[in-house]
């Protein structure tokens, strides 16, 4: 079964739970009980004492990995280029943010690091320091065996200058330590019934984010060699196991066809209520595994 997907869950799924009804222990248990093998986290959310957790927390972390058999997959981080009002981070400072998170991710056993760069425009062009800052830490990433992957996330589609820029960077540097992370929210093709994002209603992006980018999953084919990790973003799976927003029946066969064998890491982002995500993630895993089995049953 070398060519099967790997199933994971991001603790981000439990955003409405974490800190008020769930601690990291329960998060591990909920993930492990789905049969997933990987856990994804947000460094600044889930690591107590970030970026330098104390020994007690580290013992707890490795104890939980050990008990549940989960492996750390991707750690999400931020490069807060607008940390100061009126003065953006320099390249050196950006590289320092990346170094901080590469170091922590490595310490915790992660293989992927997703940095979210600050942007400079309404269409989310990242601060141009991203390229030289990443270039400065490629050697470190190589040494730590971590792939840095920027997230292709709605409202940025696949065919977009930002994505082209990332691919040009990979080609120019020849690095194996920088690749793309796809957030499946870009495939959303039906409107959200509940709006959970921060973007105000009057904003030009609002309709796009509500209705979905409707990126054609076939577009994955063109960027296949650059995809390192997939966040299986979703918003609601109904009582008939039907995803109301993401066309998994179109996405999964393409992922099979391009030979993706990495993680599908659940990212639930639905109604803002506690105790909803736990079962939603379980539903998604049934749905995805069922679709994968159907794909595998068809002779290639």
């Amino acid at each position: 079964m070398e060519d099967r997907f790997k199933y994971g869950v991001s603790l981000y799924s439990f955003t409405e739970d974490f800190g008020s009804v769930m601690s990291i222990e329960e998060g591990f248990d909920h993930i492990a009980d789905t049969g997933a093998t990987g856990i994804e986290i947000l460094g600044e959310t889930h690591v107590t004492g970030y970026p330098t957790p104390d020994k007690a927390w580290l013992d707890r972390w490795f104890g939980l990995l050990d008990r549940t058999g989960l492996e750390p997959t991707n750690m999400c981080s931020w490069v807060d280029t607008k940390l100061r009002l009126g003065q953006s981070l320099s390249v050196e400072e950006g590289a320092a943010e990346l170094t901080r998170d590469l170091t922590l991710a490595h310490q915790l056993g992660f293989k992927f690091l997703r940095p979210k760069f600050g942007v400079i425009s309404a269409d989310l062009v990242p601060d141009p320091i991203w390229a030289p800052a990443v270039e400065r830490v490629l050697d470190l990433a190589h040494k730590l065996n971590i792939v840095i992957c920027p997230e292709i996330h709605s409202p940025t589609p696949i065919n977009h200058p930002v994505v082209h820029g990332y691919i040009d960077f990979i080609e120019r540097t020849g690095t194996k330590n920088f690749a793309l992370l796809i957030d499946t929210g870009i495939f959303q093709d039906r409107p959200l019934k509940s709006w959970v994002h921060e973007v105000p209603e009057g904003d030009s992006d609002h309709a796009k984010l509500i209705n979905g980018m409707k990126v054609n999953p076939e577009e994955l084919v063109g960027i296949a060699p650059y995809i390192a990790f997939i966040q299986a973003k979703f918003h609601h799976i109904d009582d008939n196991l039907h995803d109301e927003n993401i066309p998994w029946e179109k996405v999964m066969p393409v992922l099979k066809r391009i030979g993706y064998t990495g993680y599908l890491s659940s990212e639930y982002e639905g109604v803002r209520e506690p105790w909803v995500a736990i079962d939603q993630v379980r539903r998604q895993h049934v749905l995805l595994r069922r679709l994968e089995a159907a794909c595998d049953a068809v002779p290639a």
Partner: protein, 134 residues
Amino acid sequence: MYEFQLIQSTGFRNHGPEGARDGVEVRLRLPNYRGMRLSLLDGIDVTLDGEFFSHEVTSLILGGTVYDLAAMRDATTVRWAMGEHASVLVPKPGGLLPGIHHVKVAALVRSPYFPPHLQPLPVHGERLATIVLP
């Protein structure tokens, strides 16, 4: 920490060796506001997708030990503590298919300080829950 609902999302799973499932586990929070000795629990009725399993045929898995109704009634020194999960084991050969299922439970709790005609009182839970793995 418990999920708020009596029937927990996590821990709803098939029981027994893969490929030869012999039952279903339904994980519960403590069906009481105080920890209690197991002999105060008079078994748990479970209904899975409309199929009823009486408290006389289900068992409870607590702390790694399986208690059938007779064993539960004898367990005057075993505590189901606040904060501790337990699972009802429903004897259902083959288990359930992965997917969303309708689950109902009635935990029959005896509270000696309640009038005798109200013993045991059922503590009810009902929800849709998901079996992930075959």
